[in-house]
């Protein structure tokens, strides 16, 4: 179904796969950070800054932020469709939440760029 993958239309199967694929990336990032905090006796600015200076870590961090945006786009939509029945209000709330998610990614991009 190449055509449906390429189109902007969403379907349930795509949402299902996106939620799960992004979940795996975010879990990997969480476990990595957990390992970092456990294995580093004292977290210093130098060490913390150096960690995010690695190209690999920048890519990993950015991929995680993108995953968060895609994940909550679907996840928060699921929640909103259950509780907010008025279409106009729901569209407005969804827009604001998606904007916040986009800002998360944008902030991450600018910060990573500057490191």
């Amino acid at each position: 179904m190449v055509t449906s993958q390429a189109s902007l239309k969403r379907d349930g199967v795509q949402d299902f796969v996106t939620i799960r694929a992004t979940a795996i990336i975010m879990t990997a990032f969480s476990l990595f950070m957990l390992w970092y905090f456990i294995s580093t006796p004292t977290v210093t600015y130098e060490g913390w800054h150096a960690l995010f200076s690695h190209l690999g870590m920048k890519v990993f961090t950015f991929a995680t932020l993108l995953s968060i945006m895609l994940h909550v786009r679907i996840g928060l939509w699921q929640v909103l469709t259950d509780y907010v029945k008025a279409a106009g209000l729901r569209a407005a709330v969804q827009f604001v939440l998606n904007l916040i998610a986009f800002v998360y990614v944008a902030v991450g991009l600018f910060v990573l760029w500057g490191i």
Partner: protein, 136 residues
């Protein structure tokens, strides 16, 4: 008022519908609790990211920012937010992994489903206590 074909008025038909507003008689099995917790922690995490990404941006940008964040993290508000965020994240991951396992067709029976539900709630409480003790 429209007449029902039987002659009963529609208003009366409506009245005879069974209702169950006795909330204390509705039981919540473990699987239902894990489901609503997964939803609550998902929404909470979204807003917690405001602090997490803010603190991260601040802390990697300059030595002064790093120090400021460290200071905040040593205050009670910073600790409450950090422990709350980690607790929500660990529950959401546990619930999410349970979802992924159930997607593969495992733990879908009533008994195994309820057991895995109880297990993740147990693991979550233990993890939260450990994180709370370590960070406080």
């Amino acid at each position: 008022m429209t007449k029902h074909p039987t002659g009963i008025r529609a208003k009366n038909v409506k009245k005879q519908r069974p209702v169950n507003l006795q909330l204390n008689t509705i039981s919540f099995p473990p699987a239902a609790i894990t489901s609503i917790l997964h939803r609550i922690t998902g929404v909470a995490l979204f807003f917690a990211l405001l602090f997490v990404i803010g603190a991260w941006a601040c802390s990697v940008s300059s030595p002064e920012g790093f120090e400021a964040v460290q200071q905040q993290m040593n205050g009670w508000l910073g600790k409450v937010i950090a422990i709350g965020t980690i607790s929500a994240l660990s529950y959401h991951i546990l619930g999410g992994v349970r979802h992924l396992i159930m997607d593969m067709g495992v733990w879908e029976e009533l008994e195994s489903g309820n057991n895995s539900a109880k297990a993740i709630i147990g693991i979550w409480i233990v993890l939260t206590v450990v994180v709370g003790v370590l960070l406080w």
